[in-house]
Amino acid sequence: MNHRTTRRLLEYCFTVWVIVTLNFALPRVMPGDPFLHLSADEGDEVAAFSRAQQDYYNSQYGLDRPLAEQYAVYLSALFRADLGYSIYYNQGVTAMLLRRLPWTLLLVTVAVAASSVAGCLLGSLSAYCRGRWQDRWLYPVMIAVSEIPAFLLGLVFLFTLAAGLKLFPLSGAMTHFAVYDGVIDKIMDIARHAVLPVLTLTVVRTGGMYLLARNSMTTVLARDYIRTARAKGLHPVRILMRHTLRNAMLPIATRIFLSLGGLVGGAILVENVFAYPGLGRLMRDAVLVHDYPLIQGIFLLITVSVLSANFIADLVYGRLDPRIRETAGVTP
């Protein structure tokens, strides 16, 4: 590991510590406490907690200890990958996150991949045909698409494709209590349930990716070496893929990494519209009920994934654009 990478790593460690500390403090300064939220005033029955019960639970969860001690316990547990025990959900936070993570990963990785490919292709087409009818049509349509809120688009798909045409299931990630014929049958069932959430996320993300690709490509297409390539009579696809896209990749790669970094919290609205059992839905519920350990666990996961994505992006930049390594004084 070279000097620059070590320095970056230390910077990230410091950032993680700051965020972990904020993460510990924030839920505790939010209005209310866990008992206010455990009290079922909003439900049908009033589940109320007497003083004796509050003392019982406070002692069980260590909430009666001084803040400094709670902080020390929290930090030492983190080193053991123990994110604590959820007060509301009665389960270890790490286990809860691990059970939800695959569903969100499935949705968001497919959507990021699909929207990146679609956005890049359409952006390239638009840039290459700049000023012609393809660009004149694509540009306003993609601007409009990029502005549609995810939950609205999700509801439109839900009402039309699922409820109206009955092409897809209304909710959930799989058919429950079903007996499958085999693995393929189950994969198809999961895929069918994922179509609408993935489609929603893809459409919403494609607009931004398209605009970025179009701008980046337009800049590169105006360069002299592209004019030279054209003059040499190279095939347009070769010019686009080999000479333009590669050079326009830096901002696009940044965007893809940022999207991957936001994996965890990226699908909150869509998961809620489709009752999809991912982390976004869990995060919303955790905030609503002020479940300190769970909120801390989810936010920490988001932090770590965003920082990791940034760190990887830093490393990948060097490979994509050797000039970055040179300015940092790093020898290959």
């Binding site: 009290s39 029955e45 959900y89 991949a113």
Partner: protein, 547 residues
Amino acid sequence: MKIPNRIMILLLVIGLGLCACDQRKTEGTAPEVETTGSAARYDADVIRLQGGDWGYPTPFAHYPRGPGGFKMCMIFDSLLERDEKGLIPWLAERYAIEDNGLTYRFTVRDGVHWQDGTLLTAEDVAFSFQYANRHSATWSYIFDAVAGVTVEGGDTVSVRLKKPHAAMLSSLGRTRIIPKHIWEKVERPKEFTTPEAVIGCGPYRLTGYSKEHGTYRFEAFENFWGPGQRVRVIEYIPVSEPILAYENREIDLTAVTPDLLPRFRDDPAHKIVRSPAFWGYRLLMNTDTTACLRDVSVRRALAHAIDRNELVAKIARGAAVPGSPGILPPNHIMADGPVRAYPFDPRQSRRLLEKAGYDRVNADGIRMGADDGTILDLDLLCSSQEVRMAELIRQRLKDVGIRLTVRSVDGKTRDSRVRAFDYQLAVLGHGGWGQDPDYLVAHLCGDVFDQNAAPSYSGLPGLDAPELLDLLKRQQTEIDPARRRDMIGAIRKKAAELLPELPLFYTTGYSIYRPAKYDGWMFMFDHHSLSHSKLSYLQRSGVAAMR
């Protein structure tokens, strides 16, 4: 095109990974369904209802909010059960209250089996009380209230309380009975979530649960001691839009908003039921910090100025009944007899304000006190979801010369401020209005007797009503049902006279289902959901016969 290929491989790996880890889960939670034979004795083979994760259905691990507790009740029976009219004997064949409410004797039913085949004994019942007294159940009724429990003559359990309490029959009767042989070694009951933790003696056993998907599957317990089950399997599945799921026949019963009623009303395939009004909004008044509210005439003027029928029509769109100044909702089993009413009458409101000394009006039309010139200017605290209601109240109060400033905050901030008495007027909505009227103590007195975490249990600061407080305290130890009923009646009348708070309206709500699929739904006497009662799934014969 190397990149798409890599992505494809990645997706395939993720897909296979998901599948591999999920296959085991499905096998564990979705047992094979028997389709013939035993199904014939049931009215419905499978009923599907709206799911969502409400916790592992043990008395200690389910979540306090929502329907988690009622799912647990399908598995775990109690000594008494609730039908349309009140408490009925269930695991207890009979009971007696002795020593002025200090001792309760329950005779435990014979021939009751746990779902693992073991026989239920009086020892199990005694253990359940001792355990619930030591470890707080999620819906705790008796935590730290029991002085001692003894088994007498093999089938009778005697429970001695630390102090008598009129609501204790219901509290003891609703405490879940758990098998001693399973729970006696469990020290952290909230974390005990193994398969044997859901062995009860109730009519249904849990055969599937997924926390992340929010699904539950209950199957009729064949050795159930009581009335036969009418539904073989009850499944709870996640839904995005309940009414869409109902129309698509994914679920068999759901709540329906008043706007959608015309769509189903004339279709005989659907049956619409209006639920009793046990969820309500209250206008809380802080007489401690707000001098003008100490005058009962001002409080009565507020009641006359606010059009509660308008709130029902515009906010609840008709699915509610106006609040009663006697606090208990009209569907409550102890809400008999009329109490003083405060119909919408701005002129009467103005007269009352003048009587209270606010007989001058400033240039903005706001009333002023004759003595010191203070204007009638109040703050109304509400959550962001209640702003429309608050605005309607503001308009009506402005008509009689009261300036109201609406302070809208998020729901939990409002709850915190209500608990801290940091308000002048506040709108608070919550459930539980059908329960034992002992909740009036918590509504009105809060920590005068025992403080609690729920904002609805905070009490009203500065309440100066010694007679009302005395009645509230005395009803807690009145064991004779008839005398207690009279006392509750007197409390309702007194509350309506003094108006320490004003219930605005109680929501009713509608449920819809297809009677051809299943028509056994019923409401418990104190609860507003059709699907929550276990009697909704049982034959109405024997101990569960209609009264």
